[in-house]
Symmetry: C2
Subunit: 502 residues, 2 copies
């Protein structure tokens, strides 16, 4: 049996190495590749992805998984070997159901669609992307139909990123959350807006970056096993447990941009760096779901990075880096500026409170398109109507409306947005559990120490990688299933104090 398991690992490592190479090709394309490299790079990426898919879904891995079933059943559920076989089987059974041609067509179409979007967005041209979006919808439906027996056509798409969740469970959670959010947003936005002008002075790029790197090193991001570069859109990527990189973007005239995107991506990266090294190169060596991953980025970015306690320690340091801009700005003004709540157009710029309304709007429109209740050509009108009713303002154009997010223009509609709000919810639930285990964490944060929090997250979440599903992990870590209660408590406490709500 050990021999079979070794054979399985060898084949999985081969697939992993192809995928890791593809990830590096993508990282390079986003950071340093000269423009002339683009056409060949697209082909090279497609070749690697196709070979990885072929190697993974070929008969060898299926046979090994069958042969290993008795071994798996002889082991405890939590053992590394059983978990490796179980998770590999789940991924394998999903992947073999998708015909190679469909996977290839989605990949090709996604690249093409993305290219068209990058030109259509600045031109505010929805007509131009319409046929691509229609094809994306068609392909997404075909993908879902590879998994018959679903309750909702979006279920298989959600299962890709948030295994274990369905439209029904997500809609239930979102519905509850919405009931609490809307009155909070209304109460806050009835007040005069916070003054965030102190963030919009001139801040030198290099100093912004250096400050951010200093912060995330203190969080626990290991620069011997990672690095930060600049890209148009920030992201985290992993080539091995020993090489997990992040990117950021800097705005000279908006201090919050690089700072919080750096903390956010470092949250993702610490999750990946913290996986048990024994899982290197195997399917267990990944964060377990989109929602769980996002919970870690949001925990460090928001729950920690936008907390008053964090700035009790770091604000004087930031003032030392930017004395001219900040020496006259009191901590409370700065703290309120970085937590300014307002109705706004762009999801990625939205504050923690309104952010979830942006996500829910997209989630519901995705479902409507997949159900056939909304035609793609009517999407801009539906967007505008929903935006007005939820956020009380109308997008002035497509650019900052329906064309703002890249996700739908990467070739898939459905299953791509729910993770953001699930992440917010989980971040608070997990943080409450961390505080229960270690009540001194907030005091440590006020002293610029994050070792206890990082250690607790590593032991309880990071090191498990994909061994447990998100639901299993939440239960293990918090003793409860997914619940919005801690998140509501978090928002009410923080913003209640900031805006003197009741």
């Amino acid at each position: 049996m050990e021999k079979k398991l070794d054979q399985l690992k060898q084949r999985l490592l081969e697939v992993n190495d192809l995928n890791a190479a593809a990830a590096l090709l993508y990282w390079d394309q986003s950071t340093y590749m000269p423009p002339g490299g683009a056409p060949a790079r697209a082909r090279q990426l497609a070749t690697l992805q196709r070979l990885a898919h072929e190697k993974f879904t070929g008969p060898a891995i299926g046979k090994l998984l069958d042969a290993l079933r008795p071994y798996e059943e002889s082991l405890p559920y939590e053992s590394d070997d059983a978990s490796l076989i179980r998770v590999t089987r789940r991924l394998y059974e999903r992947e073999v159901k998708v015909p190679t041609e469909l996977a290839a067509e989605m990949s090709r179409h996604g690249a093409e669609s993305y290219q068209v979007w990058t030109e259509a967005r600045p031109d505010n041209d929805f007509e131009r992307v319409l046929p691509y979006l229609e094809k994306s919808l068609d392909l997404s439906r075909q993908l879902a139909d590879c998994f018959p027996g679903y309750d909702h056509i979006a279920d298989p798409l959600i299962a890709y990123s948030d295994y274990g969740m369905t439209v029904a469970t997500v809609a239930q959670v979102f519905g509850e959350l919405r009931e609490h959010l809307v009155p909070i947003v209304q109460a806050i936005t009835a007040q005069p807006p916070a003054d965030d002008s102190c963030l919009r002075l001139l801040y030198a790029e290099d100093q912004q970056l250096a400050f951010g790197v200093d912060v995330i090193e203190r969080f626990g991001y290991d620069l011997k096993r990672g690095r930060q570069d600049k890209t148009h859109h920030p992201f985290e990527t992993k080539f091995s447990i020993g090489d997990v990189r992040i990117t950021t973007r800097v705005q000279e005239r908006f201090l919050a941009e690089a700072m919080f995107s750096t903390m956010h991506e470092a949250g993702h990266a610490m999750y990946e760096q913290g996986v048990n090294p024994a899982y290197e190169g195997l399917p267990l060596a990944r964060g377990t779901s989109s929602g769980m991953h996002e919970s870690q980025s949001r925990l460090w970015e928001n729950v920690v990075g936008r907390s008053r306690g964090f700035w009790v320690y770091f604000y004087s340091r930031l003032q030392q880096v930017f004395p001219e801009q900040l020496c006259e700005v009191p901590l409370d003004v700065f703290y309120k500026a970085i937590n300014k709540v307002e109705r706004s157009l762009i999801r990625t710029d939205a504050d923690e409170v309104t952010y979830n309304l942006h996500v829910m709007l997209r989630f519901d429109l995705e479902l409507a398109m997949l159900e056939g209740a909304l035609e793609v050509r009517d999407l801009p009108d539906a967007w505008r109507a929903r935006f007005e009713s939820d956020l009380g303002m109308a997008p002035p154009d497509h650019r900052d409306g329906v064309l703002q997010d890249v996700h739908w223009f990467m070739g898939q509609i459905g299953g791509v947005f729910q993770g953001y709000t699930l992440g917010n919810i989980i971040s608070a639930q997990v943080y409450e559990a961390a505080l229960k285990a270690h009540p001194a964490i907030p005091d440590e944060i006020e002293e610029g120490e994050f070792g206890t929090l990082h250690g607790w997250l590593s032991d309880n979440i990071y090191r498990h990688g994909r061994k447990f599903t998100a639901s299993e992990l939440i239960e293990r870590v918090t003793g409860q299933p997914l619940t919005i209660a801690p998140y509501i408590r978090y928002l009410k406490t923080k913003y209640g104090e900031l805006y003197n709500l009741r």
Copy 2:
């Protein structure tokens, strides 16, 4: 037939994409990879190289080549299709003769041996590398024995990098060259050494780099299809015709380091950028041999970059960049400094005249080891003896003696050094032909213009890629077989004038 040819191209593109990805993994490892990435990176590189080898030597390509033979024979030798089939067959027939296990073992051993060398060299520890060198010799012999019927055991190894050359032909050329070189070296080194102290002041890194990039852009290196980064050892690498990168290293206290390594690598890179775009991703899209490649790097570095005419234009610009260091240094003093001839220990630091003696020494020792006439354990003594007789000085240690070059410590002994001197010879022969076609080239260089030279090289050498062998190309371009006469004329003219010889 067209369908078969398309199938062949598809399979060759797949192999190319795996190799291009491996090249990017290597580039990243040398430039930006954090140290923690090393173990997984070695595995990922090995996986990609193994898959590329398997894909190339699998039965499919052999069958297609057989099926395409009548088509190839129906076409003129120079046609792109015939050349693609011919060159692919040559590479295929070579690659299939090497058992996959031997290829894998050489790759593994090479990586391990390199690692040991990086630690043993600073420690001056030959004993440590001895068993690795012995294994490299054994593996190199095994590799050669995959190609029975050779006259000399090094012939198949030379054919890898300089197809068409053999020990006999190289030794003949080197012997002739040596007869001319030795008296020149003696005559020059009998004189007091040139003063190169002006190169050894403090020169800021960024300005050195910016000056170098300005020069190579004027040469014709296209930064939209390339870029320069810093590495420990400079190199050129290619991911596609649209993405050919170079690296350099900078010494704050030696102006010649970055400047000439930049020109050198740009020479390699312009060759690769200049290949006919129709060959993208196919075996024709490569420089044709090690010697021909080196001729292009040495042409731009030495024949152009160390010429007086070049500095007639550029010296005042360099003085503007570094006024404090150079405003009092006349052009003639600078020109003599960058062409200082001296007996020295390190090949890569050697001047154009003595450089070839360093290469010949290595070439002869390689042959002696492969023949069994020299035991690996006796290599340091043999090195010392030959160094004293050829260069009139003894290396004080192994570090700057037999351990100085990485080549033998990458897993192969034989076939790796001859290209450097062949390159010097070819550079002069090719440049003479360029001047014959365009006598105004030297005048243009004095005005900082390189368009005619770059255009002529592109048309006559670069664009052909690997369509012609080096010998064929030299004949086509110069109307003659390889000859040392132009190189001797070049050296005698340049150094005769610099050192008032005869």
